[in-house]
């Protein structure tokens, strides 16, 4: 016991050993959390996905039956996957292009630009139920804001959240309101590009388009890549907006992946089945990220590559 206390006080230890012990004390909260709340559950969820557990009584090892059922029999699984890809593609492609254009605009040196940056950035920090409720009201087909604005330019707006065809575009439009977060990251990237590169380009006779194409884009590409990955992962996990605004409807028009997973786990209590769903989501996200990394060698430019 006395030896242990002495050890804790660091007596009889070399400086390196002492520092090592202090390192593990410092990271202890995270390390314990990693085992209890992340690592353990990851392994547990993999094991659960091979059972038919309901969370209550039934617990049998069923092998790959959950996965087989998902891929072969479960029509809703494929619908949820398709809907999520639709949402992800729409919100990421439009969102990143929009954020890039906005960041370039916000990088202009005109008076009052700070105020505009705040205005565009603000919506991205407001998320959750309150904002979802606000958008329900904005998308109201009869007296909502969007259809009112459309009527001003002579367009009769669709039923939005009540329409099979327009519910998903409505969710994508809503996501575009939050592009300010990506804008700020891209703006920081833009401001990190050294002015000397633009000067050099101008001396070589470059016009604005050349500057954008051959200086801005390559220099910004690592940040752009980061933004695309983050947005993609985020878009695959959309849940709150769907839960509050559409409950996956009308029909199955906005049945997205995580909402379907939630239904299986907490409404139908099919825990094992939901765990399998979670693992497929994990693999889909990893695969997409890996593909992006593969593709990125073709278009992302890292300065350090050329000494």
């Amino acid at each position: 016991m006395r030896r242990l206390l002495a050890l804790l006080r660091g007596e009889g230890l070399s400086l390196e050993q002492r520092e090592e012990i202090e390192f593990y004390i410092a990271i202890a909260p995270w390390l314990i959390g990693l085992i209890l709340f992340t690592g353990g559950p990851i392994i547990a969820s993999l094991l659960m996905s091979f059972t038919n557990w309901t969370g209550l009584t039934t617990l049998n090892w069923v092998g790959l039956a959950n996965y087989k059922k998902l891929f072969i029999k479960d029509r809703l699984f494929w619908i949820a996957l398709k809907n999520t890809f639709y949402y992800s593609f729409g919100s990421v492609s439009l969102g990143v292009i929009g954020a890039l254009l906005l960041a370039i605009l916000m990088n202009q040196k005109v008076p009052g630009i700070e105020i505009f940056r705040t205005i565009f950035y603000l919506p991205s920090v407001t998320s959750g139920v309150a904002v979802a409720i606000m958008w329900i009201w904005i998308f109201n087909p009869q007296v909502g804001l969007i259809n009112y604005l459309l009527s001003l330019i002579g367009i009769k707006g669709p039923g939005w959240l009540t329409s099979q065809q327009w519910a998903m575009p409505a969710l994508i439009i809503m996501s575009l309101w939050g592009i300010g977060g990506n804008m700020i990251i891209l703006l920081a990237g833009l401001q990190g590009i050294p002015e000397s590169l633009y000067e050099a380009a101008r001396i070589d006779g470059a016009n604005k388009w050349h500057e954008f194409r051959h200086v801005t884009l390559p220099m910004l590409s690592p940040v752009l890549f980061f933004v695309i990955i983050i947005s993609m992962i985020g878009s695959f996990q959309i849940f709150t907006n769907v839960y509050v605004m559409t409950r996956g409807g009308p029909g199955t028009a906005t049945l997205v992946y995580v909402y379907y997973l939630y239904q299986n786990a907490f409404e139908y209590l099919k825990m094992g089945y939901a765990a399998a769903l979670a693992w497929i989501l994990f693999i889909v996200i990893l695969t997409l990220t890996w593909l992006q990394f593969k593709a990125s060698t073709k278009w992302v430019y890292y300065e350090s590559m050329i000494g």
Partner: protein, 303 residues
Amino acid sequence: MGQTLVSETLGRERRYIAAAPWYRRRTVRRIVYMVFIYVIILPGAFLFCLPFLWMLSTSLKDPKQIFVYPPQWIPNPIRWQNFIEGWTKYLPFNIFLRNSLIITIGNVLGNLFSCSLTAYGFARLRARGKEVLFLLVLATMMVPQEVTLIPQYVLFTKLGWNNTFLPLMVPPWFGWPFFIFLLRQFFMTLPRDLDDAARIDGASTWGILFRIILPLSKPALATVTIFAFIGNWNNFLGPLIYLRDTEKLTLAVGLQQFRGAFGYVDFHLMMAVSLLVLLPVLIVFFVGQRTFVKGIALTGIKG
């Protein structure tokens, strides 16, 4: 040689501009450019503000005015009592507010404690296996929350924590990879000489953290505070699956119940309550705006 060439070129350019006709003069071109930029920005900024204005306008309306078409932007009469009525009429929002505050503030403190301690270890202390462990921090940032959701739910239910704040309030004391990464990046930028000087003056490893590193890291700590505040305040899925009794709900879940039960009748009250729920986020945003933006830039660039 190259240097003289550049300055000569620049010099010639300057003379050329000075002799240009009025429409090519620098001030005129500058004004045209500014007008052009404003013409693009202003409508966009207006469009981004509109949802908030729409919400505010509806929240001040009389029930009879809500379905008037075309909509009136400035309600007549203005009903301020909507805010009180919405807050108290159907559901106990005061209790939801208390619950949200307890959970949010507790979790912010938990995150600040656990993440700055862990980040300090990774940024400053030498140990075998550190690189591998840090890779694990980065790797866990990639794991979607849904993968751990179900086993965590089972674990907390087995512990008898269901329908309490514990499943929401315990994990934040055990770190959050994104914040650890953010703080570690910031700690790395602080000069090591400060540590050494303090160590010579007799400070311990923990003394250096609390007296040197943390006081110098206020921008990064503020960023974590704001992120954690907004994230916990808006958190929906966690409270949705763990909390059952009405007197234990948070604002996010309470608001959703309000919508489910009464939202189709009292749109004006629902907008008023939503606005009140959003208000703390707006306040935190405006108070911490500068540090906040800096912090995101920090992770953005170094990510």
